[in-house]
């Protein structure tokens, strides 16, 4: 299946290679570099690149290309999913998945890759199993290891490998037993020129951080489970129970994990928490353009809209922008033509605005296209779909855990066309 893996950074250097079968020369990456050159944007590199003897399948995460080399038929999604799992694992181990982090921990990375694939076929990808085999590096452990000579590598087969619940290790003990659930919803929307919603849907996840002793069996029920349209579960969730009773019943993994991701379809009406008034115009024959943008809250259920960030790719003809924000700061990169405005919190009494002029190349004709505006924001304590957790019950253990639920709404791909 997966023959080799190359990690390539933004400047096109191969900084790590790993082979699971016989060695494939790194010159195979030349085909990738060709594709990279052709692509106008870093993310435009085709995910699958055929070469005379191999196929290169890549994902771009954290500005690193993870390029898998395969030689024969395999479902491309299989490889792509696996590469993402590799990145997630690195992130889990090192906190961040950057070139520096990977280089600093190259041995752990190598040990991980060795365990994750055998002969190119996934062997252990479950985080709790990996963590028993290879302990994540911490400063304390590094110090202890140097003194005592103990290692980061487990000597026993992780209990999860043979267990009913491979995602949970046995013998978990905590003094404070707690279970936190974050319901995070992202609004993907396209708003048209006139401010009406063209499409809007909600992608939600429930991320959990469960630190419970023993083998707890949890059930999580919702006030309004029918809202959830298209769900995908962590393998721990008992599907039949969900089908019959719309209850999430599961023995949780230890630590952080994604319990559920769901989708609230475009059929349902999605509340749009912000509106944008804009006037971006270029006049024929003039080297000036007008730029006006005002943001305001709407349908926020009384919650504050925070961490607002507006960005827009201005047309190529724009030389510079001279703008005046009523709050926050803005930057304009004359090379990439990227305008970004860090707004902060929206105050409904005093709506933030960004006004001013853009200078165009003299003599150039007025740009055909109007830029789209991308907006990011966060709303705490609100799940915009209205999803509400009813209760969380624990069976199988005697203690009383601390239970916490947090809601948050964010902008996903939130775009306003002008």
């Amino acid at each position: 299946m997966i023959h080799s893996l190359f990690l390539i950074n933004a400047s096109g250097d191969i900084f790590l290679e790993k082979h699971w079968k016989s060695v494939v020369s790194r010159s195979v990456c030349d085909y990738f570099f060709e594709a990279l050159e052709r692509a106008t944007e870093p993310e435009n590199v085709p995910p699958v690149i055929p070469t005379p003897h191999h196929y290169l399948i890549n994902v771009l995460r954290h500005r690193i290309y993870f390029v898998a080399v395969i030689q024969s038929e395999v479902p491309p999604l299989f490889v792509i999913e696996f590469l993402h799992r590799v990145v997630d694992t690195f992130q889990d181990y090192f906190g961040v998945c950057t070139e520096a982090a990977i280089k600093d921990n190259v041995v752990v990375v190598y040990e991980l890759l060795e365990e994750m694939l055998d002969n190119g076929f996934p062997l252990a990808t479950e985080s709790n199993i990996l963590k028993e085999l290879i302990k994540p590096p911490t400063i304390l452990r590094t110090v202890v290891n140097t003194i005592t000579g103990s290692t980061n590598v487990g000597e026993q087969l992780p209990t999860g490998q043979l267990s009913v619940v491979p995602w949970r290790r046995t013998g978990v003990k905590y003094t404070n037993n707690e279970a936190y659930f974050d319901v995070v919803e992202e609004i993907d929307a396209i708003i048209d020129k006139s401010g009406s919603t063209i499409t809007a849907e909600i992608q939600g996840v429930i991320d959990a951080c469960v630190k419970l002793t023993g083998m707890p069996d949890l059930t999580l029920s919702f006030m309004n489970p029918r809202l959830l349209d298209d769900v995908s579960f962590h393998p721990c969730v008992r599907f039949k129970r969900w089908e019959a009773e719309r209850i999430l019943s599961f023995i949780p993994p230890d630590g952080n994990f994604r319990l559920l991701s769901y989708h609230v379809s475009s059929q349902n009406l999605v509340a749009i928490p912000v509106y944008v008034k804009h006037n971006i115009s270029f006049r024929e024959g003039s080297s000036q353009g007008r730029f006006e943008l005002t943001l305001g809250p709407k349908q926020t259920m009384g919650k504050a809209v925070e961490s607002v960030l507006v960005s827009s790719q201005l047309p190529r003809g724009v030389l510079n922008a001279n703008l005046n924000p009523s709050q926050g700061t803005y930057t304009f990169d004359p090379v990439t033509k990227l305008l970004s405005w860090d707004v902060g919190k929206i105050n409904p009494q005093k709506l933030p605005s960004l006004k001013g002029s853009m200078s165009l190349q003299t003599g150039a004709s007025k740009p055909d296209e109007n830029p789209t505006i991308n907006i990011q924001f966060k709303i705490q304590q609100l799940a915009i779909s209205g999803l509400k957790v009813n209760r969380l019950d624990m069976y199988g253990e005697k203690y009383k855990p601390f239970k916490g639920i947090k809601y948050m709404t964010k902008a996903g791909k939130f775009q306003v066309r002008t």
Binding site: E17, L123, V164, S266, K413
Partner: protein, 1025 residues
């Protein structure tokens, strides 16, 4: 160190001995042992040399060593030191070199001798190194073999597995026989993890030496029969790489694979699903054959007769279903049913695999279920709207989907959306959008004019690419029905005054020339204007002016003769030689002179030949023949190792090949049945004796699987068994099906009701036994924990006993049964969960099923289920209600209403269902028992029934009677159980003390004396039977 020095000798000896035993010829073939350097010489030559390496750290004699000397001396010193920490540091640096792609092969001798290092991390890194370089340094790699061989015998399964992993990964041909032996041994290892590793090793060995294929297939066959989920995915992977055409190996394992699927890890799921898709295409009939049958009556007869044969074989299946020309093989159905839940997987590859399975195997009507996961159909149209931030390839794909979704109803929305795309900054995407508009216009006649108009407007776009693309598309559209669009051609003729983009001007001129007959008045005028501006035009425009002139000259020479000559004269002196050539060529062709030959006659045909209208096609066409979701499908080119998806067979191959020894296997689709196999034989044969002749004929798999239990899959160990127990809670649905079947049989045999009751008691007994054996086998856990985990999840569904709420006849076709599922009722922990199953046996829908007017004793509460809107004919549905019985066995009465009728029904709980298991330690139990003495304690002596021969039976009888959990106990004469009443949480403690000669004493301690008394009565009855 002394030990290390022995290594090479061992290695060599073992290599030798294995070769001697296994494959004598191998010796002659092997590259190292070729006759020129006789085997004996080789042994003696390597040994001293390598020993020197080991002593000196490779400083010295050999070429390789001298090279390395200069480079990595420090590392070698570290590797040679006695300190593990230094070795580790050295290995880390070496691995970092390998990771960067630096060559570290010269360190091989220094590294390889650390293969037996005690420090596990050093050892692992040495393994990493070995796997990387063994192929290049085969002789030296042999030094490590004996370490791995010892590792293969290690009591630690992780060490056994990693020894096999490394041994099979070092690509050294000479050790093929050793690998083969190791794989064979590991395939029968106790540990499923080691067996999994063996499965992984198979393709490695196969790629190293394809000659081993036959032997490897034997191992695959053996591992395919493995019952653990851990092995399943890996062995199917090996199957796919080594012998994908040996479909016959799958037959016997097909049902097992289907049933295991949900518990296999996600990667294995993908591989298994893809393989089963191919398998199903060879073994089952096309489920969509019906549709073609309706059209072809001749075929119908053929299939009908075929079907009768099928019926004979599968009588019980066909009698249940209506007679149809096509009956789906139950195994086909099994695959579809068992893969469906995987659509909810978090892994996109799994979802895709299921989607392709449904696409290729499901009846057309069912393919819809993947739509949500795939987001393929019309309601999801808006999910495919494109954002400016999408990567180009995503934009193109979304555009493709939108174009395919376009129809009369939504085209206006789609076109409006397309219009915004045309303004995008991504020009490749704009071009694709224009083509998409063109395709919409060809596919949907109604909007052709709208699209054309839209495209015509684009001709004035400033971007050349947009204009060129629009013109190309307009040209294609107009070619389809030019006669209807003379006005557009006229419009374009007018545009020529304004449009400056040369490409667009050229294209318009071509159009006017091509269809000059439709615009007879305008065309000459355009030529007149063009003649005027000829000298200022771009080259491509000039060429088209010449073309236009020529075409007009041929059709309307009266008006255009002079103009043409003028244009040709201008062209004759043009700076561009292409234009001069063209002018000369055309003049010769169209203007008849003495010299112009025969071609002149054909000039009109040459210029105004009817050009075929181009077809606007999806760039994604023509790849249907590849399996969906495969690499080959994505690239539209066959990738190496791609397995063709076979066509459905004309007639179904014999379905009995999938039957496993147990005759009734086909019916036991639920895990429970397989589990029952594990019950110990003595118990089984006993109970069978009692159940008597009424059942022996059709007692499902009970009897069959019971007898097969001897083969009990205990080698699967605790892993496999307990994972099934988890599954059990999830497979209630299937169990109920079975339960239902059983009910049907009951109705056939009302007179023997008593025996039937025995039967269900026996079923309960079986489950409990299993539950216990599960606990016993799970020796790695402490007892208390096990009880707590498993009794919550297993016991409930394992002990289900169905009661009738509404008989089919009284209910006028609506049959209602209920059971105490023993699951906690999550909305209210003080309620008993009652699972109610409605079956609609009528031919029409039953609507608005709900509960009304509950009449309850004071204090009792009921939590109704949400109203069931529609229950289709023949369908069943299960709901759960909660009832707070206030710890009494009073019945809860209520009305069950449909849209037409109301039925009075009542649910009366046996006292044992009023409690939930409580988890106590032995000490807690004693303490609590001490508190519940005197009036709260009821003692009863009894004589155990004939069959209560051992502890197991007692435990199973008690837990079947009451929802209690077992409390660990030091004495084997005592069994203790604990529970709490559901409503008030009062402890219920039960102790059974056995005495010599079948006597026993039952003690129940409970604050609620009524409950205690009733429970004593029930348990007494259960135990003395």
């Amino acid at each position: 160190m002394q030990k290390l020095l022995q290594l090479p000798v061992n290695a060599v000896n073992i290599v030798k001995s294995v070769q001697g035993v296994g494959q004598g010829q191998e010796e002659a073939l092997s590259p190292v042992l070729t006759p020129d350097s006789s085997p004996q010489n080789w042994y003696s030559a390597v040994q001293p040399e390598e020993l020197r390496h080991l002593r000196s750290g490779g400083t010295g004699e050999t070429l390789r060593a001298s090279l390395s000397q200069s480079l990595h001396d420090d590392l070698k010193e570290m590797l040679d030191s006695n300190k593990d920490s230094l070795k580790l540091e050295a290995m880390k640096r070496i691995v970092a070199m390998i990771a960067r792609g630096k060559n570290a092969s010269d360190l091989f001798p220094a590294v390889v001798k650390n293969v037996a290092c005690k420090n596990i991390e050093v050892k692992k890194l040495v393994y990493v190194y070995l796997v990387r370089y063994a192929e290049e340094q085969q002789d030296l790699a042999l030094l490590s073999i004996s370490t791995f061989q010892r590792g293969l015998k290690d009591p630690n399964q992780l060490i056994r597995a990693s020894a096999l992993r490394v041994l099979s990964s070092i690509r050294v041909t000479i050790i093929v026989p050793i690998m083969m032996l190791a794989i064979k041994e590991a395939a029968s290892d106790m540990s499923p993890y080691v067996r999994k590793t063996a499965a992984h090793a198979i393709p490695k060995l196969h790629s190293l030496d394809p000659e081993q294929k036959d032997q490897l297939i034997e191992v695959i066959e053996k591992l395919l029969a493995d019952k653990t989920t851990l092995v399943a995915g890996s062995v199917v992977m090996a199957f796919e790489e080594v012998c994908p055409d040996r479909i016959d190996l799958i037959h016997k394992n097909y049902r097992k694979l289907c049933n295991l699927l949900i518990d296999v890890e996600e990667w294995g799921q993908v591989v298994i699903i893809n393989m089963l898709t191919r398998y199903a295409r060879t073994q089952f009939l096309n489920p969509n054959v019906n549709e073609s049958l309706l059209e072809e009556s001749s075929d119908k007869a053929f299939y009908a007769s075929d079907d009768e044969e099928d019926e004979d074989e599968k009588a019980e299946v066909t009698t249940l279903e209506k007679r149809k020309p096509y009956v789906m093989d139950p195994d086909h159905r099994l695959l579809l049913r068992n893969t469906k839940p995987l659509l909810q997987s978090r892994n996109a590859a799994v979802v895709m695999a299921v989607a392709q399975l449904y696409f290729h195997l499901a009846p057309k009507a069912e393919v819809g279920i993947i739509a949500k996961a795939l987001g393929m159909f019309e309601p999801y149209l808006k999910s495919f709207y494109i954002r400016s931030t999408d990567p180009t390839q995503i934009k193109i794909l979304k555009l493709e989907v939108l174009t395919n979704l376009a129809n009369e109803a939504n085209i206006s929305t789609i076109l409006r959306e397309f219009q915004t795309y045309i303004k995008s900054m991504d020009k490749d995407f704009v071009a694709a959008s224009i083509q998409a508009i063109g395709r919409c216009a060809t596919n949907i006649g109604e909007v052709r004019d709208t699209c054309l108009n839209g495209l015509v407007q684009l001709l004035s776009n400033r971007d050349e690419l947009v204009v060129a693309e629009s013109v190309v598309v307009i040209k294609k559209l107009l070619q389809m029905q030019p006669e209807q669009h003379s006005d557009i051609i006229k419009h374009m003729a007018k545009l020529i005054d304004n449009i400056q983009v040369p490409m667009a001007r050229a294209s318009i001129l071509w159009l006017i020339g091509e269809y000059c007959e439709h615009v007879p008045k305008i065309a000459p005028d355009v030529l007149r204007k063009m003649a005027k501006s000829f000298t200022n035009e771009e080259d491509i425009v000039k060429l088209q002016i010449i073309n236009l002139a020529a075409k007009l000259y041929l059709t309307n020479s009266k008006q255009t003769k002079l103009l043409t000559q003028y244009v040709l004269n201008l062209a004759k002196y043009d700076q561009n030689y292409d234009i001069r050539d063209r002018a000369r060529f055309i003049r010769q062709l169209i203007v008849p002179t003495d010299k112009s030959g025969a071609l002149n006659k054909y000039a009109k045909k040459l210029f105004l030949a009817l050009k075929p209208a181009p077809v606007l096609e999806s760039p994604f066409k023509d790849r249907d023949h590849f399996q969906l979701g495969s690499l080959s499908h994505l690239l539209n080119a066959k990738a190496a190792g791609y397995q063709e998806l076979p066509d459905w067979p004309e007639s179904a191959p014999d379905p009995s090949v999938r039957n496993v020894e147990i005759p009734d296997w086909s019916k036991c689709s639920s895990r429970k049945d397989r589990k029952e196999k594990k019950v110990e034989k003595p118990f089984y044969s006993d109970s069978e004796g009692e159940s008597g002749p009424t059942e022996s004929a059709d007692s499902e798999s009970d009897s069959g699987s019971g007898s097969a239990s001897a083969s009990g899959s205990d080698e699967g160990g605790s892993g496999s068994e307990s994972e099934e127990s988890r599954e059990e809670t999830e497979s209630e649905e299937e169990e109920e099906d079975e339960e239902e079947e059983k009910k049907k049989r009951k109705k056939l045999d009302m007179t023997k009701a008593k025996k039937q009751a025995d039967e269900s008691a026996e079923r309960c007994a079986i489950h409990t036994i299993h539950q216990i054996s599960c606990i016993i086998n799970f020796d790695t856990f402490d007892m208390n924990k096990i009880t707590s985990v498993f009794s919550q999840t297993i016991a409930p569904s394992g002990l289900i006993k169905m009661y009738e709420l509404l008989h089919r006849i009284t209910g006028e076709g609506l049959a209602v049964e209920y059971c105490f599922s023993r699951q906690p009722f999550s909305p209210d922990p003080n309620m008993v969960a009652v699972q109610i199953q409605f079956t609609n046996n009528t031919n029409s829908e039953t609507k608005n099923l709900h509960i009304e007017d509950p009449r309850l004793q004071s204090g009792m509460r009921i939590r109704e289920f949400a109203e069931i809107d529609v229950l289709a004919a023949g369908e069943s549905v299960t709901v759960v209600i909660g009832i707070d019985f206030c710890d009494s066995t009073q019945a809860a009465n209520f009305q069950l209403c449909t849209h037409t009728r109301k039925f009075f029904v009542s649910v009366q709980p046996p006292v044992g269902e009023l409690m939930t298991p409580a988890f106590l330690t032995e000490n807690d139990f004693k303490k609590e028992q001490g508190k519940l003495m005197g009036m709260n304690e009821i003692l009863e002596k009894l004589t155990l029934g004939e069959k209560c021969v051992n502890e197991h039976v007692i435990v199973e009888r008690v837990t079947a009677t009451a929802n209690l959990s077992r409390v660990p106990c030091g004495s084997d004469k005592e069994c203790r159980f604990a529970g709490k009443t559901v409503s008030s949480g009062c402890l219920v403690l039960v102790t059974v003390t056995t005495k010599e000669g079948g006597g026993a004493q039952l003690t129940v301690n409970c604050e609620k004396m009524v409950i205690g008394t009733m429970l004593v009565k029930d348990i007494l009855q259960a135990l003395s039977q």
